[in-house]
Amino acid sequence: MSRLKAAMSDLWRGSVLFSWGCVATAVLRLMRASWHAREEPLDWAALLRWSLLVAPLAGVAAIIVGLAYPLFDRWLNSQPASGRDWASVTRCLALFVGINHANSRFHFATDAELAWTLALLSLALWWTFDRTTCGFVIASLAAAVAHVVAYYLVLRLVFSHSESSLELTRLKAWFPFVAFSAGITIGSVGRQLAAPRSGPKLHCD
């Protein structure tokens, strides 16, 4: 019975994480596009195509990362730095969006500057909301894998016609760090989902 319950809980968490990942990816892509909407009009068809392909991938990644975090927490007996509640998770999410925002709006002289700034920002995100080693490691792994996948995708499939080759070189500068912060964010969501339902009150005991 309890096993069934646990499985249901896992299923529920997985589905929530999946939808989180899909929606967040699509919305962020849309945001990126609309930030650049001044330069070129939105191409809704391309966006939709892109979302249909990439969002499920991101959703799967979100499931993996979001389930891995609480698991490793339990295994390594670690605890995130900030208080465990939805407010802090939302805050983390907002700052993640902020990192994306900074990425697409701030124009840096060189790619190196952009990369360093984003690295610092994502590290700061990790430091503020997570501060656990396992969080860092999982997010880094996820970022590495995601980067390889994204690079392949950009090279072969979706972006080849919609984005310029300049974008491809830029991708190297920003994608790992954004993926890292995405890992941290999804991790905090996953942790919060795995936390006991009664929230902070129960936590005091």
Partner: protein, 1257 residues
């Protein structure tokens, strides 16, 4: 190790403690005037946010794009709007002109008229310029009729049906004659500065530069450097024609032509958005949605307040007022330039966050609910004050570093954030704390209405789970230690829940490795390395290094002319000046050094001076002719720069006959009527451009004194924080603290999620000090040494740390009293087993009073006293009611007078036994004085300080001993009245006598007849006696009496005496308290208010200047006094019987009384916080171990209590025998408590109390 009296809630001593104290004071203030304060703060916030009204609607902010050429691709990806053609092109000819050299006999208008008059020629040149087959007339925008008539000038003077060419000449209708006939050109110009049109002023339209640059905002008689522009609006861009125009103008005006030609080649395209695109709103909407979710979750956490809705609204108001206020301030100072604020705001909210608001709320709601709301607010604030301040300073430091990166976008965000944080801090403390206090007082009022709802302590603990922001105490059963082996080490130690080794013992290997990694702080180091590298990269890329290098390296001698090398400039300029003047066909002026400087100043300082106009300047300009630029863009072509030097002769020629009058009075009139001129004599030494190379955005570099001031203001907290950080780091690294710090690492890493302070009260093992043959009567300590005196008159000096007996002082013969055997019998009852009855001291004092000569006359008072005495004895100790003992006590009291020997021991029993035989004892007194040797009276009181021991005797003599060596240093025996209290205060000895007199004796250290500075000497003298030092001290130092002042403080016996901070506070049988000055014994205050004998007294020792004192009286009243004013702060009926003892710390007062209760009072208002029944605790003394632990004594044991919960925490058994011995005296020594135990002493150390306060996360 923390001192025992330390306030845990107030944090450590030092800076955090002081900060917490400040917050406490502020909290009291805020809670006293919440409505006033919150409305005042809101008003300030609203005033500060007024400039927000002028903020552009976010989507309408003009966007800029810069290209180096007209058709070239921009560096950034081109926006959509750039694909169209611009609406118009703007070509400016910027003129910087001045009369040079300035002659001292010139008048005010000379500085303006001639330079301005050149504009007519320039305008004509431009308007009629032809090049090849094109002309400016063909190319220019043909103005139609101005559609606006509101500033009259638009209608009358602006060009119509011609080229749209604006210059200051427009003010005079482009008519040189009108200009020459204008008797007051300054007024003409200044009037137009007031005429607003749309987003700009008419003056700005015609001058084409900000008003500040025109030199017409400050009028004074001296050389002025005018800047104005001729603005040509073009339909088409013909680079050839414009290049020709530029060439021609530079030919005509050759001064600084080389520099002027190279100043700027940038095309600036300014786009005025027409409407907000849906796509653009999408990201913003998303951010705001996230923001609102965040706010929702944050506010939902706010549970423990009375009115959730009101407090949530208040929190929201705080945050949004913060935003409004900070953006208002920034707009007021013109700092908001490029960042689209609507995009930054949500992040700012998230960064600033609700955390502080939440933390304050939580902290306040976790204070004891019975407290006054004022105190609750103050306590809540002071608990979190240090954290809040620390975080604020940390964030400001980080953001200041961000500002120092000189990257415009980051700078702007940082500035916004810094101002936002300061505003947030201001509003939190001003507005939120005030509303919170309203809420708290509402809550209290509501709870007061429900009388049944008085929470028991169990309730309190349920509601505030153990350790919720408070102190968690882990209890364990006490194990009676093996007292025969006092040095056997700690008997049992209760391990902390998170004890490192306890946890590690059963850890799997992976976790061990993991913790090792975590402990080595790998990521912190990595993070800081990253940070440093990032800064370095930014600084390097930002050109800072190059600039620095350029500044350090000497300027190359053959610098090319375009480079602004000031050293090379004057020589070149002089040559050019000659050329310029020759071209103008005028005789060369006398060249001087001043001229060269002037010519340097004629350079254009800021290449993009028009850029400081209003964002909508060009839009306003086109609006005059009803041409809309919305949805389109305007291209500002690189301006042509012209420098003009006007010779004084020309200035004199251009003079108007009535100009002389202008210079005298008209300026004042203008200033009066228009009220905006700044008439000041500020030197305008124009530095070469402060602005770095014309990049896309200017980094913010403070230029004006005000900006520098602001930056310094901003930098101060950062510097302070960094200094503090360095100090803390030093302390950590300092070898003394390193181990402690190091050991805290483990705990820190594991309890990262644990918010609670923990305080572990561990097992305490008493140390046994035996040696006295009889009951210990007096116990004093100076921190290092412990002095005790027994009934036998023997004084023993102990080391307070080790418990070794350092010295035995035998005053007179050391032979035991012949009555010793009887005394032993007696002491079984009197000292060994008798519980000192409550109120005993009172009775004892009554007895003393009767025995004083001047009061013994009324015999009828005797009877009730004796009756009372006898009736109270059996109540306290039933076994003692039989007659023989009473009789023996009479004998005991009498015997010393019959005994000629010097043994003082029996006499000492007066003090205890008087209650029974006071009349006889009083009678015996006279005989005593006559018969006994005067220098060896019984010891009645002692005091110990700095290794000196003062002893007050029954025969009125006062002896001063060196406690370490046992040498008698001084004797004062001039007054024969018995001594009831002595106190050593520095070099002074306060002696209270039996008759209510206070003598203040001053001692002086003498070294071979020469007085030594006592204070110096007592400080430098080694505290712990070691062989050599002791001898030296012995050999060279003598003490002598240096002064005596007498204060007749009371008419009757002094019952209590305290010395603190230069004041002596005494309480007496006469129901009064006296405050006496220590220096001269002069009275300061007499405190009336008690209706009974003053039985207990405390003076607040928290500050150097005694601020408050409290006293308790025999009728049970507790009064608290303000010692500076002598006023009674409050007086409460505390106990049913007499108040037997008082003690206080920073926030509470503890009192014990004859009703066997211990009461805890809130200190500032006198509210009863808790009442603890002390059954069979026959000791009136209470010692505060920490701010919330106190110790009482009971039969054979000490009891440690938690003050806030009112529950016993631990019982410390003093002996393993039956607990029949009563502890009579306790005194704190460091972190230990010394108490008597029959004829022995016990030192009970409480080390666990002072250690291991878990660092709050």
């Amino acid at each position: 190790m923390l001192p025992p009296g330390e306030d845990v809630t107030g944090g450590a001593t030092g800076l955090p403690g002081r900060v917490a104290q400040m917050y406490y004071t502020y909290g009291l203030f805020a809670a006293s005037h919440p409505k006033l304060l919150s409305s005042a703060v809101l008003t300030v916030a609203i005033i500060c946010s007024i400039p927000v009204v002028n903020m552009h609607l976010p989507s309408n902010t003009p966007q800029e794009l810069r290209t180096t050429g007209p058709a070239e691709e921009p560096s950034q990806p081109a926006p959509v709007w750039f694909r169209e053609k611009p609406v118009v092109y703007i070509q400016q000819v910027l003129v910087r002109a001045a009369v040079t050299p300035w002659q001292s006999d010139m008048i005010l208008t000379d500085a303006y008229r001639a330079p301005l008059s050149r504009v007519f020629a320039l305008t004509e040149t431009i308007a009629n310029f032809q090049h090849g087959n094109g002309s400016v007339q063909d190319l220019c925008f043909r103005a139609e009729e101005p559609v606006f008539r509101s500033p009259a000038l638009l209608d009358t003077h602006f060009p119509r049906y011609t080229c749209l060419l604006l210059s200051p000449a427009v003010l005079w209708g482009s008519d040189r004659a009108a200009f020459q006939q204008d008797s007051n050109i300054i007024e003409t110009v200044v009037r137009q500065q007031k005429e607003r049109f749309y987003k700009t002023t008419v003056s700005n339209l015609v001058f084409g530069v900000p008003a500040k640059e025109t030199a017409f905002t400050r009028i004074y008689k001296r050389q002025r450097f005018l800047t104005y522009a001729v603005t040509v609006v073009l339909r088409k861009n013909d680079p050839e024609l414009l290049a020709g125009l530029r060439h021609r103008l530079l030919e005509l005006y050759p001064l600084h032509a080389a520099e002027n030609g190279n100043l700027s080649s940038e095309h600036v395209h300014i786009f005025y958005p027409a409407r907000t695109g849906v796509y653009e709103l999408l990201p913003v909407a998303l951010i705001y949605i996230i923001l609102f979710i965040y706010i929702y979750f944050s506010v939902r956490k706010m549970e423990s307040v009375k009115s959730k809705l009101a407090m949530s609204v208040s929190a929201l108001v705080t945050v949004f007022a913060t935003l409004m206020m900070s953006s208002g301030i920034l707009i007021h100072h013109g700092l908001q330039q490029t960042l689209n604020s609507r995009e930054v705001f949500p992040y700012l909210i998230v960064v600033v966050g609700f955390e502080n608001v939440m933390v304050i709320t939580e902290s306040v709601s976790n204070t004891a609910r019975d407290l006054n709301p004022r105190i609750r607010i103050a306590q809540g604030l002071s608990r979190q004050g240090w954290n809040i301040t620390k975080n604020l300073f940390l964030e400001i430091t980080i953001l200041t570093i961000g500002i120092l990166t000189f990257i415009p976008l980051i700078q702007e965000f940082c500035m916004l954030a810094v101002v936002g944080m300061c505003c947030d801090f201001f509003l939190q403390l001003g507005f939120f704390a005030a509303t919170l206090s309203i809420d708290t007082s509402l809550q209290t009022a509501l709870e007061d209405e429900e009388p049944a709802g008085e929470p028991s302590y169990a309730d309190l603990r349920l509601r505030f789970p153990i350790g919720a922001r408070g102190v968690q105490i882990q209890r364990s059963q006490s194990h009676p230690g093996t007292l025969s082996e006092p040095l056997g080490g700690p008997a049992s130690v209760v391990k902390s829940l998170y004890s490192m080794d306890g946890l590690l013992g059963r850890l799997p290997r992976r976790l061990t490795l993991f913790y090792l990694w975590a402990r080595s702080r790998f990521f912190q180091r990595l993070f800081s390395v990253f940070l440093v590298a990032w800064m370095g990269l930014l600084a390097y890329n930002g050109g800072l290094v190059h600039q620095l290098l350029a500044a350090v390296a000497p300027p190359p001698p053959a610098a090319d002319q375009a480079a602004p090398a000031p050293a090379a400039a004057p020589a070149a300029a002089a040559g050019k000046l000659a050329a310029a003047l020759l071209t103008a066909g005028e005789p060369p002026p006398p060249s001087s050094a001043a001229t060269d400087d002037d010519l340097t100043l004629l350079r254009h300082r800021d290449p993009a001076v028009w850029h400081r106009l209003h964002d909508f300047h060009w839009m306003s300009l086109m609006r005059v002719y009803n041409v809309t630029t919305r949805g389109g863009y305007v291209t500002v072509l690189p301006p042509v720069y012209v420098s003009l030097a006007v010779s004084p002769q020309e200035a004199l020629q251009a003079r108007h006959p009535r100009d002389a009058e202008v210079s005298d009075r008209v300026v004042d009139r203008i200033a009066l009527t228009l009220g905006q001129l700044e008439i000041a004599d500020i030197d305008e030494t124009g530095q070469p451009s402060q602005y770095p190379s014309p990049s896309s955005d200017y980094a913010y570099v403070p230029s004006s004194p005000f900006e520098v001031f602001l930056v310094v203001l901003l930098a101060l907290p950062s510097i302070a924080f960094i200094i503090y950080l360095l100090v803390v780091l030093y302390r950590c690294v300092c070898s003394r603290n390193y181990a402690e710090w190091r050991s805290s690492w483990g705990a820190d890493g594991q309890c990262a999620g644990d918010y609670h302070q923990q305080q572990v009260v561990l097992e305490a093992l008493p140390l046994r000090l035996s040696g006295h043959s009889q009951q210990v009567e007096c116990l004093q300590t100076d921190g290092q040494l412990l002095v005790s005196c027994c009934l036998a008159g023997q004084v023993r000096v102990w080391d307070a740390v080790t418990g070794d007996c350092v010295r035995v002082i035998n005053r007179g013969t050391a032979t035991p009293s012949p009555r010793a055997s009887r005394e032993d019998v007696h002491s079984d009852y009197g000292s060994g087993g008798s519980p000192p009855s409550r109120g005993e001291r009172h009775l004892e004092q009554m007895a003393k009073r009767l025995s004083t000569p001047q009061l013994a006359q009324s015999d009828h008072q005797l009877t009730p006293t004796v009756d009372l005495t006898f009736s109270s004895r059996p109540a306290a100790a039933p076994a003692a009611a039989d007659a023989p003992y009473d009789f023996s006590r009479f004998l005991a009291a009498r015997e010393p007078s019959e005994d000629p020997g010097p043994a003082p021991a029996p006499r000492r029993t007066h003090r205890r036994v008087w209650s029974a035989g006071s009349a006889v004892a009083g009678a015996a007194r006279d005989e005593d004085r006559a018969g006994a040797p005067p220098e060896r009276g019984a010891i009645w009181c002692m005091d110990c300080s700095d290794g000196l021991l003062a002893v007050g005797c029954s025969d009125g003599s006062v002896e001063v001993w060196d406690a370490a060596t046992g040498a008698l240093k001084l004797v004062h025996s001039e007054v024969a009245v018995p001594v009831t209290h002595v106190r050593l205060v520095g070099a002074r000895l306060v002696v209270a006598r039996f008759n209510g007199t206070v003598h203040i004796l001053t001692m002086q250290a003498v070294q071979q007849g020469v007085p030594i500075d006592w204070g110096y000497y007592s400080c430098s003298r080694p505290r712990l006696p070691t062989g050599g030092d002791e001898l030296r001290w012995e050999a060279v130092t003598q003490l002598r009496w240096a002064g005596l002042s007498t204060a007749r403080a009371h008419q009757q016996l002094i019952t209590v005496l305290e010395c603190c901070g230069g004041r002596i506070v005494t309480g007496s049988l006469d129901h009064m308290l006296r405050v006496t000055r220590l220096e001269d014994g002069s009275p300061v205050h007499t405190l009336h208010g008690h209706y009974g004998t003053v039985t207990a007294l405390f003076v607040d020792r928290c500050r150097s200047e005694p601020a408050t004192a409290g006293s308790g009286s025999a009728e049970g009243t507790l009064s608290v006094w303000d010692l500076t004013s002598g006023l009674c702060l409050y007086s409460v009926p505390a106990h049913d019987g007499a108040v037997t003892s008082l003690n206080c710390n920073a926030s509470y007062i503890l009192s014990t009384g004859g009703d066997e209760r211990l009461c805890v009072w809130e200190r500032f208002q006198g509210h009863l916080i808790s009442k603890i029944a002390l059954s069979h605790a026959y000791c009136s003394q209470v010692i505060l171990l920490t701010s919330n632990l106190f110790v009482t004594s009971r039969q054979g044991s000490l009891m440690v209590w938690d003050l806030e919960l009112g529950e016993p925490v631990r019982l410390v058994r003093l002996g393993d025998r039956d607990s029949s011995v009563f502890v009579r005296q306790m005194t704190p020594v460091g972190d230990a408590i010394v108490c008597d135990y029959g004829s022995e002493l016990r030192i009970v150390r409480f080390p666990p109390v002072s250690a291991h306060q878990k660092k709050e996360h």
